[in-house]
Symmetry: C2
DNA sequence: TTGCACTTTAGAAAGTTTCTCATTACGTTC
DNA sequence: GAACGTAATGAGAAACTTTCTAAAGTGCAA
């Protein structure tokens, strides 16, 4: 949830890893892709395509919107990026470790919640067996909805007055 | 998951309930709202606004798209409808009992999975305390991703050949 | 029955995502 | 190191989803 700015070294490490994986997947390394990955790789804010595009504009004023989508699609196809839908626009997530999300319904902030695994629990499998017979579960995605620390504090103060 | 057609009696019962609640919430009963509720109240397919609009067109050829959104917003404000985001378009859900969803990643079908409660488990609260300190959880939403019975069968047969 | 406030309609507009196609350029091959 | 084939980019159009506006219509309380 906290938007701690990763050190340049961290950015480079994850970005380099992603670029290597992209190349290994048979994709070409272009300047645009490198820039997108550099901005996206360690971004924990779950940016939209628009937000990434805006951030890249100063560096690549002539870049097309389609290139942002193309690259994010390529990253997703290579398993290097996930998609999160909690509003009109899709949000992209470079975190490929198992995790869930917290969503603040007041300010819209999104955070990661590490999880040991996305596999369904035995209890969930049992319920699924009844509710959707024959369904084969691959992963369970959880969204914790509520109020982030700052908004929860604001709500408490509002209730006091 | 199965799209069992509810009997006319079931449709009327839930629709009547919804319309009564709408009126109780201080909203006016119009012919359009009645038609939308009649089509939506017992629909377990999680339709998009477009799908509802298409279904209503034969009956109300002059109805506006905005009316569908207005009515669904009104239902949501009255707590009679929920929203589900698993693709570009929002999907609407008349089921107001605690439940999660299964989503078939092959065909896109969506189903309900009844749950005793949407409150977070103690284990989840503990993890959240570490990952997002101060976050106040209101509800946990789960999406079970995988393959529905029909698509899972098709995948098995494909693997055999 | 009247009148007010809420609804509806039609279309424009805003926002998101995909597509087309001509041009560019990565990366392999020679 | 040059040439080539293929993949990627750019620009804009287009498709799709959702919201907004203004004028006309209508439910319902008084």
């Amino acid at each position: 949830m906290t938007k701690r700015a990763p050190s340049p070294h961290e950015i480079d490490a994850r970005a380099r890893e992603m670029l290597g994986d992209l190349k290994r997947a048979g994709l070409k390394l272009t300047a645009q892709r490198e820039a997108i990955v550099r901005h996206f790789a360690s971004d924990a804010t779950h940016p939209t395509a628009q937000e990434l595009y805006d951030r890249l504009r100063p560096e690549f004023p002539q870049m097309s919107f389609a290139t942002v989508y193309n690259t994010l699609d390529a990253l997703a196809a290579a398993g290097l990026s996930g998609t999160l839908r909690v509003g009109q626009a899709a949000r992209f997530d470079p975190n490929t470790t198992p995790h869930h999300h917290v969503v603040c319904e007041a300010c819209g902030a999104i955070g990661d919640v590490p999880a040991p695994s996305l596999a369904p629990s035995p209890a969930a499998v049992k319920r699924l067996g009844r509710a959707a017979p024959g369904f084969r579960v691959r992963a369970v995605e959880r969204i914790y909805r509520g109020s982030c620390a700052a908004c929860a504090r604001a709500e408490r103060e509002e209730n006091v007055s």
